[in-house]
Every structure is written in C-alpha cells, then in structure tokens.
Symmetry: C2
Subunit: 221 residues, 2 copies
Amino acid sequence: MTVSPTRIPEATVARLPVYLRALNSLLDSDVRSCSSEELATAAGVNSAKLRKDLSHLGSYGTRGVGYDVEYLRYQISREIGLTQDWPVVIVGIGNLGHALANYSGFSSRGFRTVALLDADDSRTGELVAGLKIRSFDELTAIVHEHGVAIGVIATPAAAAQAVADQMVSAGIRSILNFAPMVLSVPDGVDVRMVDLSSELQILAYHEQRKSTLQPDDGVVA
Amino acid sequence: MTVSPTRIPEATVARLPVYLRALNSLLDSDVRSCSSEELATAAGVNSAKLRKDLSHLGSYGTRGVGYDVEYLRYQISREIGLTQDWPVVIVGIGNLGHALANYSGFSSRGFRTVALLDADDSRTGELVAGLKIRSFDELTAIVHEHGVAIGVIATPAAAAQAVADQMVSAGIRSILNFAPMVLSVPDGVDVRMVDLSSELQILAYHEQRKSTLQPDDGVVA
C-alpha cells in the first residue's frame, strides 16, 4: 500500500480534528495506547473508517498493541499544522464574536487571536477577552503586522461579503465564516462556513423520521 | 430509477440545508427557475453531486428549463421537516448562548426557542432575546409543557454530559452540542456536535499546504 503524504481526502481531513479531540481526552485519562476500536468509540466513528483515515497519515498501529496515543496525536497535529502558530483576526464583535474571542478551544490548539475588529467605531477600545476592540479600518495594517493567516467573520449576513473582500485584499487566504451567507472569493482562498442553523435542520430531519417511523423499523440513523 | 422516500444518504441530508439557503437567495433575487449548474454554483457544490442529491428527493428538474425554485424549496423544506414547528430549548446562557438566542437564522427556519436555561440561579429572570432566563431545574417541566424536540447545549465542556443526561431523561431525543466534548447518549438519541475549533483546524491544514506548495502545483484544494 502506498501512502501519499501530499494528498489526504477532504472527508478524512474533516475527521482529523475529531480524532485529535479523542486522543486528547484519552491522554487526560492517562491512556497511553489504544486499539483502533477504542479510539473509534472515543471519536464516535466506525473503526474501519478510522483505520483507513489513519493509513493516509502512514499510521497503522502495532498488531496486538494498537496505537501509541501520544505519537498519534503528534502525527495528526503536525499533519493539520497545529505545531505551527496561527494568528487569527475576528471581525464582528457582537455576541458571537464575544463567544469566539473567549472560546478556550482556539488558543489551546495553536490559534492565537491577535485582534478583534468591529465596524462600529463607537466600540473601539472596549476590552473583550483581554483584547481591545479595534476599528475595521485597521485590518490591512494588522494582517501585515501579525502575519494573520486566518480571518473569522462573525458579522451579520449583510456585511459578510464586504468583510471577506477586505480580508482577501489584505492578503488573508483562509476565512472561517459564521454569517449565514455564501461568500464568493477568488481561487486560492479557502472559505469554511459554519451555519449554526444547518445543524439544527439536520437534527430536525432525523427528529421527523423518529416521529413518523415505528421504533422497530430499524431505519432511524 | 427507483426513489426510496425513506432513506436518504447522510451526506445528502447534510447538504440539504445548503441547497435551501441557495434557493432562498435565488428567490430573494426573483429567480424563479434555474439549471442544476446555477443552483450548484449558488450552493458551492458540483452540479453532478447536486443532481444526484436531488434525485433522492424525486426531483429531476425539467430538460431545458431546470428546476422550479419555489417548488424545490418546498420539497426540501418538507423533507427536512421545516414545514413543522420545532420548539427548542437552549441550556447555558453565556456569550455563545446569547448569540444563539439572538440568531435570526433559527426562527426564520421553523425553530422556535421556547426557553433559555442556566445553572447559575443568580441569572434567573435576566432578559435575553425577549425571553427570561430560567433555572435549569425547570428543564423537565418545560420540555413537557412545550413538547420540546431539540435541546441545544452551550455550556462549558465540563457541564455538557450532565446537561445531556438531564435532557435525555426529560424526553429530548435530538441534541445540538456546542461544548467541545464528545457526549455519550442512549440509542435513539441523535447528537450533532458543532466544534468551533474543528473548522479552524481544517482551514489550518489547507493554509499549511498553501504555504509549502508552489502556487502552480495544482494540489491546493
């Protein structure tokens, strides 16, 4: 079996953070090695899929021993790039922007929020999560000063495209968009969209199925 | 080709909200019919995948005309269950809970927040998004009173499992979890997890590739 270190399927990339979280909780419980079944259970995926995913990283575990938890965590972190430092800027400091600025999960994974920006200049100077809110006009200067790689958009939908355009022209090539709005960006710029209501809609789909099917139909996901 | 109305692949279900959002913006721009290519572009997926997804709903469009935007929107809404009313309860009213309570994308899609609960009883009575924060102890009574189908967890990680257990014992069978923590729930209960830092990690993976590859390698996703 040939492992290509340069291409990992998108679906596998999307699961690597899930494995990383599972490995972190295993380490918290002082578990040093684990079988693919144990790791799959902790991550909430099936073990065949997990083994296939990890094979893309060149990780096969050891027969009868399983995976070395710490080493696998290092491999995944390196693959994702979490062994680097990622300066992040958050634009739009409403409730969601506040929540993101305070979110401990970012800083503990190599993401460093270097600036909070808001278009409402009356808020400039307000202290949130230890940072002073700055004017959106400073975006380009901040991107250059800190080498910002990732921009987070937490504005209302109506403002999101203009913010994205400014981010791109300031040199940002990766955008995480929380505004309920599909952004158009040039080639070479990655956008990931977190649509908070999509997840509720997916739940509603399953909930509807549960209400209309008999419990023993066995079709419920 | 046989269409089975009772099983739609999970990956297709996950894309239905994306199509719905694209259809809504087409309607906002007064577009009444569209080709699969147009809809695919608006949704940010490839058109072959879109046609396959819609075929699971029994929607094939009309040759030379494409899809009727309004009817397709209705079909998808009905399939997801958005033509019903979904009472939702949000537990944990910190910054994220505030943001969710104020999020317009929920109410416009059939999700009605009926209660905001927080374990900190000193906050009981505080007004957020037009609702008074209530004590977490009232969960079971509220679930029964309003027929709550979906519970949203916006607490810190350490509290999330206990909240999920209470939700399940109160009769909630669908949980949307924002706490960075894998929940264990009985069979028949669906949990969707929104891990805000996972999306950043996926971006970091691509950002790292962009930094290390030549721009003309053509390997960048």
